[in-house]
Symmetry: C2
Subunit: 357 residues, 2 copies
Amino acid sequence: MMRRAVIMAGGAGTRLWPLSRADRPKQLLPLIGGASLLRKSYERLAELLEPEQILIITGAAHLDQVHEQLPELPRENLIGEPCGRDTAAAIGMSAALLHKRDPETVMSVFTADHMIEPVERFVAAVQRGFEAAEQHGDALITFGIKPTWAHTGLGYIHRGRSLGGDLYEVVQFKEKPDAATAQEYLDSGQYYWNSGMFVWRTETILDQLRRHLPDSHEKLVRMADAWDKPDAASLAAQVYPALEKISIDFAVMEKAPRVMAVQMDCNWLDVGSWPSLADVLEPDPAGNVKAAAQTMLMDSRANIIVADGDHLVATIGVSDLIVVHSSDATLICRKQDAEQIKTLVEQLKQTHEGKYQ
Amino acid sequence: MMRRAVIMAGGAGTRLWPLSRADRPKQLLPLIGGASLLRKSYERLAELLEPEQILIITGAAHLDQVHEQLPELPRENLIGEPCGRDTAAAIGMSAALLHKRDPETVMSVFTADHMIEPVERFVAAVQRGFEAAEQHGDALITFGIKPTWAHTGLGYIHRGRSLGGDLYEVVQFKEKPDAATAQEYLDSGQYYWNSGMFVWRTETILDQLRRHLPDSHEKLVRMADAWDKPDAASLAAQVYPALEKISIDFAVMEKAPRVMAVQMDCNWLDVGSWPSLADVLEPDPAGNVKAAAQTMLMDSRANIIVADGDHLVATIGVSDLIVVHSSDATLICRKQDAEQIKTLVEQLKQTHEGKYQ
């Protein structure tokens, strides 16, 4: 079997505005230290796989930036989506292409917007996932993160009996729970966070897509067949937007007959919003988290300060704010209102005709 | 008698950081509408005087910028200070120079950091001031602003009997009062705000400086004598910093034997700080005051938003903040902490070695 990994690097990263922008979304930004989230995702996988085995699926407009950040990858391993159609489309497109290149493929799927540590445990879990998918050819296998607190912002996986070591049957997928339920899940030890990372044979996921999203499946196969031909781009531009916009969880995982979970015992941190990014960084004694070269904070507590380049951010007497400076826009947002950033960017579309997005 | 007006345009404007900077202080900035405070000060006087009659004293480093903003003025009417030594030095230097050019001069003195409306009343008061100084050659005459509220941030002038129309004897200068005292002053109708604007014969003010600041007086006369000679700049660079750093109020006004006040019945607004600047501007329905081309304020109240150029300032859920964006620094400050901005700029000198000031 051919082992392959696909990193999904689509998504607008709107909640990280104004640093994350339509033409340079969060996964391509060096948010933490020098490397982008995408580059970090790649490097984790490179512990286990050769560059030729790693693919990226991203917005077609970002292919050049991805190529710059990952020069090791062969250009044919970069898949451009004409538009975002959620994870069922991104995974289906990747699976159809890989399957056409070699029907004997086991593919794993990863996201580009998480910090995962330590790398050794991540690598061990992915290794275990490949082996499980090779052994259980008819199964869809998800990576389950061992929860460390009663998170209410994630879906959960109810695991069943062990199938050997860290591989488990999946009893049921659970929607985001309320606080009490999340605590029950945590206490029981029988639940994982649903990571959105998977491993399976391309044949198996395509078969499930054919059953549950037949129209999309037909389109995906048609595009994969044409992929290396001259009219591929125009076909994709026409067909891709017509794919059903749905997550792989809703479309397939919750309906599939045989689902397993590999336990991934890692710190797994979403960095999809300013507060979650701040969780990854070390606060100063006053609780301020800074991703900015130049700051001067007086009598200021528990703020998140982000600035590009050498722009100075100075604060006096403020607390619990998110302050983000980019070259053409500055955001000042109460921490508790961080989810409203998405709305603000939506409104900018109306009022500023595409500027500042 | 020759009538002359001097606008003091020194000062760092630190409380308007980060827009006001060491190399471009507030009086040279177009803070309100198109014209700078200096230009507005000049235009008020130009209702009454010819360009040749108006002088500017400012930091030597800012002479070129002043010349650009006031091209009408002859270059010899721009006086450069090697460094700031408070108002006794600026007024003394101007007086010494004017007196040397013509001993029969009545000079008026104005500041460049206030909004004064309506112009007609301002002009009438200045006209009255010139007449009074010509009539009462031995008097120092100050312009007193009729108070409109119990301001505790200003000195007051206790006026005595009328000397004809809007000209009054001065009984006493008063330091900044507490709130109760300020209210008494307001209720009595016998007090003016001390405006820091004056009119007098150059001979008279120089005579008072000789009595009360003899060392500075000698230096001022020496520099004035050398002003048009080749070694003027090097002499000033050596002597000016040795002038006593003191206000004209402390040095002279409180001690002079004959002081009068001309009542100026104007709206007189300090625009020396962000809150006071905001008082001059019209708030939006949510109470936000904006001096910024591009803003997007969601669920935000009573903020002061200032940005240069087309930089977008977006806020969510914040209130009572001062947000000021300049090309290389951004300030976020609680309104009630506005006086701390000065401290912050002081600290920047230590930590950032002159950058961002």
